[in-house]
């Protein structure tokens, strides 16, 4: 059980949302000739989310003045690699924003942003799959982060999608949220049958209001809303981010380490 780290929650959520919006932007442009309605605003938003997230992360560091050291162990540390990937991602986003200011963003740039964004999330997934936390020392963090990118990303992207594409965005959101719901309900139950620490993590999740708030506010209510209107209402992105906030708090706070169980049966 860990203490709440607000900066980490914001960092992961906002950067994941940024990647989500960026990937959707790329997908929409691949699939259709017409670009987004407001490409500048869209890339501006992506950049804004990214900057806000990265800024937030500084508050997590005990010594932000030494932040440059974070790149000194790219050889073995996933956190170093993650930050490196986000630096590349950030550079590409900046390029995209710059070119959006001048006209349509080129296809290769969009593809690169999308690919690098997903790679960054993969690195992030590895960073938060630490050896000491057996419940998530696996693919799950990456999956969780991709799902957040899909739901939060599509919710935010709804601001920028042309009317004709609102259906597509709503579809992406609902599919993401539905898969999330299934996975988030299933994973803690799977954990219950794991070893002592993993099972305790599962119990911690299932008995935590944080987790259920996330399921409700981040997934169920939005799903119902979208199912009714078949599009993403303007208030939904805020609600989704709010819900995701609880989910992420649960992720960081309820994850038990093997070290917390020493002296007991594993």
């Amino acid at each position: 059980m860990e203490t709440l780290s607000l900066p980490l929650i914001l960092f992961t959520l906002l950067t994941q949302a940024a990647v989500g919006v960026a990937v959707l932007a790329a997908v929409r442009q691949w699939q259709t000739a017409d670009g987004p309605q407001r490409p500048t605003a869209e890339w501006g938003t992506i950049a804004g989310l990214l900057i806000a997230g990265v800024l937030a992360s500084f508050f997590h560091l005990g010594h932000p003045e030494l932040v440059w050291r974070i790149l000194t162990n790219v050889g073995t540390a996933w956190l170093s690699r993650e930050i490196l990937a986000f630096i590349v991602f950030g550079a590409l986003v900046a390029l995209a924003l710059w070119s959006a200011l001048r006209g349509p963003v080129s296809g290769w740039l969009l593809k690169s942003v999308a690919v690098v964004g997903v790679v960054a999330l993969a690195m992030m997934g590895m960073t938060y799959a630490p050896a000491g936390q057996p419940a998530i020392n696996n693919i799950w963090p990456f999956v969780f982060f991709m799902l957040t990118a899909a739901t939060a990303g599509s919710a935010v992207a709804s601001f920028f999608a042309p009317e004709a594409k609102q259906g597509l965005v709503a579809w992406v959101f609902s599919t993401g949220a539905l898969i999330s719901l299934v996975i988030y309900l299933a994973v803690p139950c799977v954990w219950l049958s794991g070893d002592a620490v993993v099972a305790a993590t599962g119990r911690a999740f299932l008995s935590s209001p944080l987790y259920w708030m996330f399921i409700l506010i981040g997934l169920v209510v939005p799903l119902i809303a979208v199912a009714r209107t078949r599009r993403i209402p303007g208030w939904l992105p805020v609600l989704v981010l709010f819900g995701e906030f609880f989910g992420r708090a649960a992720f960081f706070m309820l994850m038990l380490t093997t070290g917390s169980n020493i002296g007991n049966l594993y």
Partner: protein, 187 residues
């Protein structure tokens, strides 16, 4: 050949007296709230009497230390003699090692805003002394051994109650506690 230092925790001798934990605080003056060596009670599922068998644990100075691998700031190094050293001047306080260590060893110090952990008293070792905790243990339950020469047949690496992480290679070795014959009151 260089040494491979490790702690041998003889639970058959250990009385859970916390001397080792305090000997460490005595040497390094950890702030209230921070303890580098912890004496963990062994649960009744493993030893049938509560708070009567103990595991005195600090850093395990692992063969493949995940703390070191995962530290983005390269604040950990491993010496030739096996000691995994944390360098406070290099630490950026990201707390990643709190999660990567499977044994819950590094602790975050809110005063220094850095992680910290047992150093195996390498400064003392270099001065030819025993680690403070080992020197302090009044029963001989805690000792410093060289795994290159250590051959106590009773010693095991993964006793019940200790995370089974062979890939990490924790260096600590354990001897299991024993049980007396118990005659309980009839009336």
């Amino acid at each position: 050949m260089s040494k491979r230092y490790a702690f041998h925790v003889n639970m058959a001798l250990c009385i859970g007296c916390d001397t080792c934990a305090m000997a460490c605080k005595n040497q390094y003056h950890q702030e209230a709230g921070i303890v580098w060596r912890k004496v963990y009670p062994v649960s009744e599922a493993i030893y049938p009497h509560r708070d009567r068998a103990w595991m005195s644990l600090a850093c395990n100075h692992c063969d493949n230390p995940p703390c070191l691998e995962g530290c983005p700031a390269s604040a950990y190094t491993k010496r030739d003699d096996g000691v995994v050293v944390h360098h406070p001047d290099l630490c950026i306080g990201c707390q990643q090692c709190l999660h990567t260590c499977p044994f819950g060893v590094p602790q975050y110090n809110p005063h220094t805003k850095k992680a910290e952990k047992c150093s195996l008293c390498w400064e003392r070792l270099d001065a030819g002394l025993q680690p403070a905790c080992v020197q302090g243990c009044p029963t001989g339950a805690l000792s410093l051994v060289d795994l290159n020469t250590f051959d106590d047949p009773s010693a095991i690496q993964f006793p019940p109650g200790f995370p089974h992480r062979p890939e990490v290679g924790p260096s600590t070795r354990f001897t299991l506690p024993e049980q007396p014959k118990i005659v309980r009151r009839e009336s």
